[in-house]
Symmetry: C2
Subunit: 420 residues, 2 copies
């Protein structure tokens, strides 16, 4: 019996799904107390990305060139039924994994990076800039830039640059120009380098450098989470998944995934939201960075550097200093505004799980299914255990769709902590 639901390239959906018009109430607007932040964004964001950020069109057509780029990096991705993992729970459940780890970049992030690089290119520039923390987003941007024949300047928090050598090497092989931040490439970097305490860098510093570098070198700045446009581009995953399940007559009772900034979970779940009102939506974060369960719904800065406009979202504070957990993608302090709004309305249920629990599930999944999830991705696995328990008690079959947001092959250094 087969365990894979393929979708041919010519069956890939033609549209991204924009949730803004379908939200239960209008999305609170960004707040720009200084009046400068939005001006900066207009100078460094590609115009089309800015347009999409505020669009109220429900379906937005994917340009043919971006469809080609999606094909190039491994789209459509398959859905895999994790039968051996199902058996472990001895409960009436079916688990369908939307395998974003199958993309060449190894994660869902490439879905947005390709679109943003493309919308940068059509403005006639030859440079894209961005920041990266643990490196996943940087890999996606390096890849997207090369596939669009653009240069990329990537600012990576200094501490990560010297620690995540595999990811740095991959960015370089992909043609990315990756630099430890703070750097001497920008004025803000030069200024900050004078103080020894900044030498490890931070995501906030790296964002500031990437924005300045784009401004000074006629580049475009590409952003890897939280904003509406980024989520829009990532809905290609959910659009595909809907089609794959519907073709096969499979109706999910649960749609689950993990939340870093929110674009991964939203990218899978949003395309189901309008027509699958009976499904349960559950999203998990990290117990060590508990924005999902302990965040407050309020206006806050999306970036630690406070150069972007404030947005209304669940947040544990832009000043929150995350502990050094291994799921780098989950260290972010807030939840994307659109997803936050659905949490506020009780549509999406939040969870947070601790690293030890999550690593045990990652190990279990790897042994049973043969495929290693990213630590971030694995934070959704304990949700399955909860559902299995409930399904067993209720005696009713439950169908689960999960975003398998990335593979963990470049996270084996982190996982090795289990054996030392």
């Amino acid at each position: 019996m087969t365990n894979r639901i393929d979708l041919k390239q010519d069956e890939m959906p033609d549209y991204w799904y924009n949730i803004l018009p379908d939200l239960p109430e209008p999305l609170p607007q960004p707040m720009d107390t200084t009046g400068k932040a939005i001006q900066v964004l207009k100078s460094v964001f590609p115009a089309k990305v800015l347009e999409h950020e505020f669009s109220t069109e429900q379906m937005i057509r994917i340009p043919d060139d971006i469809r080609e780029l999606y094909f190039q990096v491994g789209r459509p991705t398959p859905i895999i039924r994790a039968k051996r993992f199902e058996s472990y729970f001895n409960a009436p459940i079916e688990i369908y994994m939307k395998m974003e780890g199958y993309t060449f970049a190894g994660s869902h992030k490439i879905n947005s990076a390709l679109a943003q690089a493309y919308y940068s290119k059509i403005e006639g520039v030859d440079l894209v800039t961005t920041e990266t923390g643990a490196g996943q987003w940087g890999i996606a941007v390096a890849m997207a830039s090369s596939l669009n024949n653009l240069n990329s300047k990537i600012f990576m928090a200094g501490a990560s640059y010297y620690q995540k050598t595999y990811r740095v090497t991959l960015m370089k092989m992909l043609g990315g120009d990756v630099n430890p931040s703070p750097s001497a490439l920008t004025n803000i970097g030069k200024e900050l380098m004078k103080d020894e305490k900044n030498k490890n860098g931070s995501l906030g510093i790296a964002i500031s450098e990437a924005v300045e570098y784009a401004l000074e070198h006629n580049g475009r700045y590409n952003v890897g989470s939280v904003v509406n446009a980024d989520i829009l581009y990532k809905t290609i995953a959910g659009q595909e998944a809907r089609k794959q399940l519907e073709i096969n007559g499979i109706e999910p009772n649960y749609i689950i995934g993990v939340v870093g900034g929110g674009s991964n979970y939203s990218g899978l779940a949003f395309p189901f939201y309008r027509d699958y009102k009976d499904a349960k939506y559950i999203a998990a974060g990290s117990y060590e960075v508990p924005k999902m369960t302990k965040g407050e719904y309020k206006y806050d800065y999306p970036d630690t550097g406070k150069i972007l406009p404030q947005v209304k979202m669940y947040s544990i504070g832009s000043d929150f200093i995350p502990p050094p957990i291994y799921a780098g993608g989950l260290r972010y302090h807030g939840v994307a505004p659109s997803l936050s709004l659905l949490m506020k309305h009780g549509v999406v249920e939040p969870r947070d799980y601790d690293q030890d629990t999550v690593f045990k599930y990652a190990e279990l999944y790897t042994r049973l299914e043969g495929y290693v999830p990213a630590p971030e991705t694995a934070h959704a696995l304990p949700i399955i255990s909860e559902i299995a328990k409930a399904a067993k008690e209720e005696g009713k079959r439950k169908v689960i769709l999960m975003s398998f947001s990335g593979h963990g092959l470049l996270d084996l250094g982190s996982y090795s902590s289990m054996y030392s």
Copy 2:
């Protein structure tokens, strides 16, 4: 325009292809000077694997249970047309990559590991043993054992064990019991540990330990290259590729790939051999371990420990000490007997390429296509350059099928040498 040729799970071929009856002359038999070697093999090989080793049936049916296991690890794999890499050469060529790197194990090795673990399991044992050098085969065996609900005892050359920590961690997450060799788990290991000079271990020592451990603990020993049965199981890749190309009316003019022990290239090329006599067959090895171009066709030991029967093959000598090249899978001293015979008859043309050249091609491919090849895999890329040059001169379109034997995500540590 699409660039991927999928094959559905229910379209996967039902048979492995055995080249033995189709060879231009009978394959020279193994030579067992002591009379002990074959006896040892009979005790530790699964009976079905031994039977396949000497079978003269041309097509051997794949058991349903193994088909299921192939599905579990990502089979069938797609063929990707590398259009951006084609464009680089500015020549009338088409490049089709059979993507064995897509399997969960990241390489073609899982195709054989699953079959051998299965044939071990049906004998009622609960243990599989093997050796591994750089770790790719160990990963495949750890995965195959867990998917067959078997334990695995993996002996890894000590120096690699402490160096290739990502691969060791992955084996452990997969449920493999991996040990640095020499170890105190076997008599031969204990004996060798007494001498400081053995502390780094070797593939030869690891084989000896794996065989002894299987003998002493009622396990079965699984072998990852060279032997006929191993190649037979790996022909699933070529069987699929033939079907994928034929469905789409594509006829390859060149079939290329790399040779470690020979099973990768043979797994892709052998199923074409009988019916595609006009195709050119070219296989590459490493210039630093030049068995392909400087090997001698003679009886030699397949293992450095000299416990296996001698076979007739191209070899640079079982005592050859390979330099520390990064393509660990190409450090082997010989070429599988069946492939050697085709080389002797001029059917398969040999090449050897040096590491610097190969790494440059790996970087180029990664930047253009977005997917990083294993260093081993990348040794076939310079062949494409040769073909492109000839095609341009001749002014005729040439279609190339290449075995993309594995991804390079766990080799980024090696690739980083390009940037230091």
